[in-house]
């Protein structure tokens, strides 16, 4: 994987493998690419990894005062594991002199039992070459060598290799089902219901119209801005050229665009002044003519005796606008216009659905 494609560290937590101890083959642990964002984080394919879980034969051993170094071989590679001794292990078993005396042998002696327990613990942490070790911990690189800092480690008793066989087949299954599958965070949004993709499309169009202060447009003008919703859709065929038959994503795009425009019309955000072959959509908020027409109607009619007191009802305004401006203005469009006029203090609502013009 190209380092540029590395998942941003903010998103690492979204990968469940990141917070688990990954059961990788030792060869993969040794060859994982290190992250360029954070040290001691590695990438197996697209998955960020920092903790691993390994089972293998001890083929190398070195003991220090505070820790053991075990070389662990799982049949695919050998990795050095730094295993810290816990406190009871550092206490040498020098107090061997305290053997139970004969008269105490049959009674329960706590000190002896504790010592037995410690001995049993020790045998689990002190391994010899050829014994099986299970170790979990963080992957580190020190002196150009990749190694593991064990957080847990213990000797595994496996006299008939049942544990090793099971481990090998489990690991292969984990690789096939999880580690080798790429992490697709975009898939999460793509798999959402079509309703949300429709609402997303409407939002995109709304944002676009607002940002660019578009006053009118034709559907193919805004087709491209919905393109990101269809990652696999090829470039839209140039004008005058029919889209290639069978490109279902492009068809989906057209359907989505149509649905989104219908939704925007229902909401009154856009409207078609003239219903003709040429699909021109007017943006309500940017249509100065419509705004002026509505304002004029209210100003003129408010002077009339009939409306002087209560103001003009919305349906009266609607029918006037339809006569004067366009038959296709819907109530939703008018409501938006009235709302914006009222926000600018051009008109005043006397009560619900009644509007008047304030004459100074």
């Amino acid at each position: 994987m190209d380092p540029a494609e590395e998942l941003p560290s903010m998103l690492w937590g979204l990968d469940p493998i990141f917070s688990a101890f990954a059961r990788l083959h030792v060869t993969d642990i040794l060859h994982m690419r290190e992250s360029c964002q954070v040290p001691d984080i590695y990438f197996y394919k697209s998955h960020p990894i920092h903790k691993v879980d390994v089972l293998g034969t001890v083929v190398y051993k070195r003991e220090r005062e505070d820790f053991f170094c075990y070389g662990v071989d799982d049949g695919t590679g050998v990795i050095n594991c730094l295993c810290w001794k816990n406190d009871p292990m550092k206490e040498e078993l020098d107090s061997d002199g305290g053997k139970p005396s004969d008269d105490l042998q049959h009674s329960f002696n706590l000190a002896v039992e504790v010592k037995k327990l410690k001995q049993a613990q020790q045998t689990h942490f002190r391994l010899e070459i050829g014994e099986l070790l299970r170790v979990r911990g963080q992957v580190k690189t020190s002196r150009q060598q990749r190694e593991m800092m064990a957080s847990t480690y213990y000797k595994v008793n496996d006299p008939v290799m049942a544990v090793q066989i099971e481990w090998m087949s489990d690991v292969l299954q984990l690789y096939r089902e999880f580690y080798d599958k790429p992490l697709h965070l975009q898939n999460i949004s793509a798999s959402e219901s079509p309703i949300t993709s429709l609402s997303k499309a409407t939002q995109i169009i709304k944002d676009f119209l607002e940002q660019k202060a578009v006053s009118k447009f034709r559907p193919y003008d805004i087709q491209d801005i919905l393109q990101p919703l269809f990652p696999s859709c090829p470039e839209v065929a140039p004008a005058g050229q029919e889209p290639v038959a069978g490109s279902s994503t492009c068809q989906q795009l057209h359907v989505l665009l149509k649905e989104a425009l219908q939704l925007l019309q229902d909401e009154g955000v856009v409207y078609r002044k003239v219903k003709s072959q040429d699909e021109v959509y007017f943006v309500t908020a940017q249509d100065k003519d419509l705004l002026m027409a509505v304002k004029d109607i209210i100003r003129e009619d408010s002077k009339r005796e009939k409306y002087q007191e209560k103001g003009c009802h919305i349906l009266h305004i609607l029918s006037s606008v339809r006569q004067r401006h366009s038959m296709n203005v819907s109530k939703a469009v008018l409501e938006l216009v009235l709302k914006s006029l009222e926000c600018n203090s051009d008109i005043i609502s006397t009560r619900d659905n009644y509007f008047t013009y304030f004459i100074i």
């Binding site: 695919t76 050829g130 006299p159 008939v160």
Partner: protein, 143 residues
């Protein structure tokens, strides 16, 4: 220094042409390590020499083991053992000899299951990592 990785080999692959061939043995010589398993049939402590035998495809396969690094051990004639060590050529031995680093008694192991999982692992690496696989293939080609 960590020893090199011990890759699983089947006993019948050890004495197959690839590892027997003078050149490749020299190339891999002490570097080619492997782990394999079979039944202990003979042990001569005075020569530090043991022999592991296994049957495969109606043929008996012997692998000679140099046990000088793992002595003393408790030889149980007829028990299954797993050996991890380096290939070495020695005089007086027909084929190659394995200098054991680890010789564990695993009597009772489910050999069929072990073979199955080793084959699965091999095919997994063959699909993904042709580089690692090429090493294994040298021995398999002669089967």
């Amino acid at each position: 220094m960590l020893p090199a990785v011990a890759v699983y080999y089947f006993p019948w692959e050890v004495n197959s042409g690839a590892l027997q061939d003078g050149e490749s043995v020299r190339t891999f010589g002490s570097k080619t390590n492997f782990a394999h398993f079979s039944r202990l049939t003979q042990y001569e402590p005075e020569k530090s020499r043991a022999s592991l035998t296994t049957q495969h495809a109606s043929k008996e396969h012997h692998v000679v083991i140099n046990t000088s690094f793992v002595e003393p051990f408790n030889p149980i004639i007829g028990a299954q053992y797993i050996v991890l060590g380096e290939i070495e050529t020695a005089q007086g031995v027909d084929g190659v000899r394995v200098c054991a680093r680890v010789l564990n008694c695993v009597d009772g192991v489910n050999i069929a299951l072990l073979q199955k999982v080793i084959n699965e692992q091999r095919s997994f690496f063959r699909e993904r990592r042709p580089d690692l696989w090429s090493l294994l293939q040298r021995s398999r080609a002669c089967l």
